[in-house]
């Protein structure tokens, strides 16, 4: 008991409800399961879904890392990390390899994950068909029938119009050959890391009150066509700080004359490379 709250903020009955839903989610990879999302002491859009999932899985011996667009030091990451340090008393870290639970907003760390780690994604829109089919009931029926032609048509229209699929983030995937799934708004660059990941991946949407999961070693295929295969793209530059040519880059404006710098979005990966002597 910390400061008048239950361990990790949520009451035990709420945790039980989320835990039961998580177990079903693991058994049905990619299928969205409704849960009784609670009011959290921060607004929707700040990761209330992810926080509730983290609160349900977190134990005293866990080491928590929180990233926001890859960075450990942005407002969202800092406040969520402090929230759990305060309400659960857990150890926190910024080092990917030391973390047992990683709550993330819209990135997957560059450092490969390992067995035993749990990724918790913050999801704004869990329904991949939402922009194509406004009726939630109809979208649920399409999932039930595995009727995903509408999404293939959307990708096809992109190809005819632009010559390629023009989705750069939240690129739809098929989980375990069955469910169309939103990977949350991670860049399409990160999609291949979802496939056969050794880590357990949990997805929580607070406003929409849905959760879903990918067990470790699950096949996750980004939708594509035989003659237009999925390609993970990144900016062609190298990181201006660590020289990495394989990481996902953010473009930052560095002065009032429009000078720009490309840097790793994953701050832990970038710092680790700089410590190892790499430079931009």
């Amino acid at each position: 008991m910390t400061h008048g709250y239950n361990f990790a903020y949520l009451d035990e009955q709420t945790k039980r409800m989320i835990r039961r839903a998580l177990l079903k989610a693991v058994a049905i990879p990619g299928h969205q399961i409704p849960f009784g999302g609670r009011e959290m002491p921060l607004p929707y859009g700040w990761g209330t879904g992810g926080i509730q999932l983290t609160a349900a899985v977190l134990g005293a011996s866990d080491v928590l890392k929180v990233i926001d667009q890859g960075a450990d030091d942005t407002t969202n990451a800092v406040s969520i990390r402090r929230f759990f340090a305060r309400t659960a008393g857990v150890a926190t870290t910024t080092v990917t390899t030391q973390a047992t639970v990683i709550q993330t907003r819209h990135r997957i760390p560059e450092t490969p994950l390992r067995d035993g780690q749990i990724m918790v994604y913050q999801v704004p829109l869990p329904e991949p068909l939402a922009k194509l089919e406004p009726s939630r009931a109809e979208a649920a029926r399409m999932h039930a029938l595995a009727e995903y032609g509408l999404m293939q048509v959307k990708l096809y229209e992109d190809v005819t119009r632009y010559g390629h699929v023009s989705i750069s983030y939240d690129y739809p995937v098929l989980a375990n050959h069955r469910y169309l799934m939103s990977p949350s708004p991670i860049p399409a660059f990160d999609n291949p890391k979802l496939h056969m990941s050794p880590a357990l991946q949990l997805f929580g949407a607070g406003r929409e009150k849905r959760l879903y999961a990918l067990p470790p070693w699950t096949e996750v295929r980004s939708l594509d066509f035989d003659d237009h295969p999925f390609r993970a793209t990144r900016a062609p530059q190298v990181c201006g700080l660590c020289g990495a040519a394989d990481s996902y880059l953010d473009e930052v404006v560095i002065d009032d004359r429009g000078s720009r710098l490309f840097v790793c979005s994953d701050t832990d990966y970038c710092a680790g490379r700089q410590e190892a002597g790499h430079g931009g």
Binding site: L23, V26, A27, N176, P215, W217
Partner: protein, 191 residues
């Protein structure tokens, strides 16, 4: 009188640890995890079974309890507050010592396959006995789980459950202070 037995010594931490064992077991089918390590279980329940129910069952989860578990009924009512149901199809959790027919349990609907029964089966041994070859999500390569206490025709019976995917039941195998899990997504061969 089973009511004299306490539940978890530390309800918050013990429930969390048990949940992580079940989560780990379901995410890695066939992996044997510890549960109920320090728990005194009521008669007819293995400590792992008792720990799983203390962790996951409450007033929202109807439980199907065959007569063989009558001695645990009061303990479950008191510590979990579960309602007991007579029809297996209406149960969120079901307990058994011998593998019951799967088709009597709820297998969910096409729209909501999660509305299905989770069967908790108590077996004589985990890690020794007849070997079953598992493959599917959670397994990089097929793995073998040895169980004493599953019927010889288990692979065929599981296949009929797996064929319903994404509907179907999930199976937790409990033995003593250990458990393993077979989510509906996994396929089982004799091996």
């Amino acid at each position: 009188m089973s009511l004299d037995l306490p539940g978890f010594a530390d309800p918050v931490a013990d429930a969390q640890a048990t949940f992580r064992s079940v989560l780990d077991a379901l995410a890695h089918p066939g992996r044997i995890a510890a549960a109920g390590t320090a728990l005194a279980a009521p008669p007819s329940l293995h400590p792992a079974t008792a720990a799983v129910l203390l962790t996951l069952a409450d007033g929202d989860t109807p439980l199907w309890l065959p007569p063989a578990f009558a001695a645990a009924r009061d303990w479950l009512a008191f510590h979990c507050g579960v309602p007991f149901v007579a029809t297996p199809a209406a149960a969120a959790f079901a307990l058994a010592d011998d593998l019951p027919a799967f088709d009597q349990f709820g297998s969910g609907s096409d729209v909501a396959p999660e509305d299905s029964t989770t069967l908790i089966l108590q077996v004589a041994a985990l890690g020794t006995g007849a070997a079953w070859r598992l493959s599917g999500p959670g397994l990089r390569t097929p793995e073998t789980l040895a169980v004493t206490g599953l019927p010889d025709d288990f692979a065929a019976r599981w296949a009929s459950n797996h064929a319903l995917y994404p509907r179907g039941i999930d199976l937790l195998l409990c033995c003593g202070r250990t458990l393993a899990a077979l989510p509906r997504s996994v396929s089982v061969q004799e091996g």
